[in-house]
């Protein structure tokens, strides 16, 4: 009566195979998605480099035309979103892809340098173009404990002031142009984070208020925004007053 229970070996093997197939498929899909992300970043970079080329050409033409003909398209808006995506890739990609990521980062840094140069030229030539450029040099957590806080502050400022262009550079990257930039502003890997504004380099963490002190243009924008708001409220108030007074007049006949 008491027979030993048996194990159906075939079923165990069969289950293993099905599970392995599902697993393999999943890894495969994952690989495709990672590849897609990588290609996405690459295509954004291509777009930016096209934008830049276009800007350069526009800029060369500018010598013969006026500032007004420069439209917003010269400011490559994709740079910010590219930065977010790159840092995501850096944090989430597997080891094997790190080489590709480093390549993308170098390319991105180069694009930033080019954009920055262009912006400076633009600012010199066309004084009414309101663009505030800041260079930001950062390092690893080990070398720079304040860099994380600094990037939080800069991200927030970038949200608040669309006019603010922050070019961020990983000082660890081995790139000729980046090294030259570092030499120009005297940036050392041991003295980070470093912010460069108006050719002046500022070392160490800066709070939002400190940065506003550093960049008076931001304060100017604040003042202008406050004025605008005040004007809006005043016009709203006067509208309200107008409507209440008409309300009062319409109520009068009842008395």
């Amino acid at each position: 009566m008491n027979t030993r229970q048996s194990i159906d070996r075939n079923k165990y093997v069969m289950t293993f195979m099905i599970t392995a197939i599902i697993f393999g498929l999943m890894l495969y899909i994952n690989g495709i998605l990672d590849q897609k992300r990588y290609e996405d970043v690459k295509s954004i970079q291509d777009q930016i480099s096209l934008d830049l080329l276009s800007s350069e050409t526009q800029f060369n033409l500018l010598k013969e035309t006026s500032c007004k003909s420069i439209d917003d398209s010269v400011l490559s808006k994709e740079l910010n979103s590219l930065a977010t995506k790159l840092s995501y890739l850096e944090a989430n990609q597997s080891e094997s892809n790190q080489g590709e990521i480093a390549y993308l980062k170098k390319y991105y840094s180069l694009l930033q340098v080019k954009d920055w140069i262009l912006m400076r030229q633009l600012a010199e030539k066309c004084k009414d173009q309101k663009v505030i450029s800041v260079l930001y040099f950062y390092g690893d957590k080990e070398d720079c404990s304040e860099c994380e806080d600094m990037s939080y502050v800069l991200t927030r400022l970038r949200q608040q002031y669309p006019e603010l262009r922050i070019y961020s550079f990983d000082t660890k990257l081995d790139l000729g142009a980046l090294n030259t930039l570092k030499t120009i502003f005297g940036i050392e890997s041991t003295k980070l984070p470093a912010l460069v504004y108006n050719g002046q380099s500022n070392i160490g963490f800066k709070s939002i208020d400190e940065i506003k002190e550093l960049i008076p243009d931001l304060k100017q924008i604040d003042i202008e925004n406050a004025k605008k708001k005040e004007l809006e409220e005043m016009s709203k108030d006067s509208e309200n007053k107008a409507s209440t007074s008409t309300g009062a007049t319409s109520a009068k006949p009842r008395n």
């Binding site: 008491n2 194990i7 289950t15 994952n30 977010t84 806080d149 939080y152 949200q159 963490f205 939002i208």
Partner: protein, 431 residues
């Protein structure tokens, strides 16, 4: 992420998926046999051996034990549901064993004094297993089962269970359990969980791997206790230990999926927590007591797959929990640091959150997500199938939603305590 943790994560996901595939394969293999079981129960099979067709005089005698301890509120309803069983009156005995109640339970059951089908017994308090053993000692019927005083049976339950004893070597048959009138969220969660249980129990029965003969209305051949001995304390889960003991002796346990038993689930989180700490802790400790079965090919699927995987998944869940908690704490710390330097601005923060979390691009479409969805689909299927299997006619599927959303949040509560208790008890035993 750490490579070692990645490896652990992948092996865990692989094993869970393996188990699920194994269950589904078993179901597909045995679909036709489950169908023929159903037909046989309805009396339309080729051999038509449903109990309905057996003359009353030939039906076996059955004793149902109702062990009670301070259960004045529900005991009457339990007894009435047993009296309502569709079974010959002279073949069925209801044995109420009062395990030294301190309330009015004994007074309450006096109204059944003298009823031809009911025997009232009173003993000194000693725990549920002593009440069961008392009944086993005093019963003379061919079959014996138990119904806790918080449960009620469907009137056909016994007729659905007994035919399974026709198979040689079967000494115990388990029923399908359902939550009685789930009317709050906690009840709904348990309802879905029990329906999932109906599915798993059926499959485990097919695999000869049931590791529990639930207290409510599992029916045994009485003579089997002569061989395996009486119930033991067994870390307060005597029904779990008994199943493992029967499995160890290579007895067969079957499942009558159509035999419905309704039970009142705990209505507060705390009571549920207490119950589950007992169940989970009981499982871990009994499995450790029977560790000679684990990975022993003589014990078939139970020893080779079900027990080791169940133990592993408890451990793995805790590791996951620790990992998730660490991540949560790190994230909160990061967020705190960020707010400290940038200040809090809900509009901008929300904008940033959406920008980096909702966009598919940033969505962490990792393996765990894909496997998680597969697991969720299989769970939904199993709950719905379990409902169908037991013939439950409820067209409410909200319980699945609550179960999927909330169960994984509350179950770590009792997992942690159970594991902690196990470690503590083991340590204490050393001294």
């Amino acid at each position: 992420m750490d490579i070692a943790f990645d490896l652990f994560l992948y092996s865990f996901m692989f094993l869970i998926l393996y188990f699920q595939v194994f269950l589904i394969l078993t179901l597909l293999e045995n679909r036709s046999s489950i169908k023929s079981e159903n037909k046989r129960l309805e009396g339309i099979g080729p051999d038509g051996e449903t109990l309905e067709n057996i003359p009353d005089t030939d039906k076996p005698t059955v004793t149902i034990v109702v062990p009670v301890f301070n259960e004045e509120k529900t005991v009457e309803k339990t007894i009435l549901s047993l009296l309502d069983l569709n079974y010959p009156k002279d073949k069925l005995t209801i044995m109420v064993v009062d395990d030294g109640s301190k309330d009015n339970t004994w007074k309450f059951v006096q109204k059944f004094q003298g009823h031809p089908m009911i025997a009232l017994h009173q003993k000194e308090n000693g725990g549920k297993y002593t009440a069961l053993n008392y009944a086993i000692e005093h019963a003379t019927s061919e079959y014996i089962g138990c119904l806790d005083a918080d449960s009620f049976v469907d009137s056909e339950a016994l007729n659905h269970i007994l035919p399974y004893f026709a198979e040689e070597g079967v000494v115990a048959v388990t029923p399908s359990m359902k939550i009685q009138n789930p009317d709050n969220v906690l009840g709904m969660i348990q309802n879905a969980e029990y329906q999932l249980g109906i599915f798993t129990r059926k499959i485990l029965a097919i695999l000869d791997a049931q590791y529990v003969t639930p207290g409510p209305f599992s029916i045994f051949k009485r003579e089997v206790f002569n061989d395996v001995g009486p119930y033991r304390h067994a870390h307060n889960t005597e029904d779990l230990e008994m199943a493992l003991r029967l499995q160890e002796k290579h007895y067969k346990i079957r499942n009558a999926h159509r035999a419905l038993v309704y039970t009142v689930g705990p209505r507060t989180i705390y009571k549920l927590y207490k119950q589950r700490v007992r169940w989970t802790g009981g499982f871990i400790q009994n499995a450790l007591d029977y560790k000679r079965l684990i990975l022993n090919p003589n014990y078939g699927n139970l020893g080779f797959l079900v027990l080791p995987l169940a133990m592993y998944s408890i451990l793995a869940t805790l590791i996951f929990l620790a990992y998730n908690l660490t991540t949560l704490i790190t994230r909160s710390f990061e967020a705190y640091n960020r707010f400290k330097v940038t200040g809090f601005d809900w509009r901008l923060d929300l904008q940033q959150f959406i920008g980096t979390n909702i966009d598919w691009w940033f969505y962490n479409l990792q393996s765990s997500l894909i496997l998680g969805s597969i697991a969720v689909l299989i769970i939904i299927f199993a709950v719905v199938y379990g409902k169908k299997l037991a013939g439950i006619k409820e067209n409410n599927y909200m319980d699945i939603l609550y179960f999927l959303l909330l169960y994984s949040l509350i179950s770590p509560l009792w997992l942690i305590t159970s594991v902690y208790n196990t470690i503590r008890n083991r340590d204490a035993a050393w001294r």
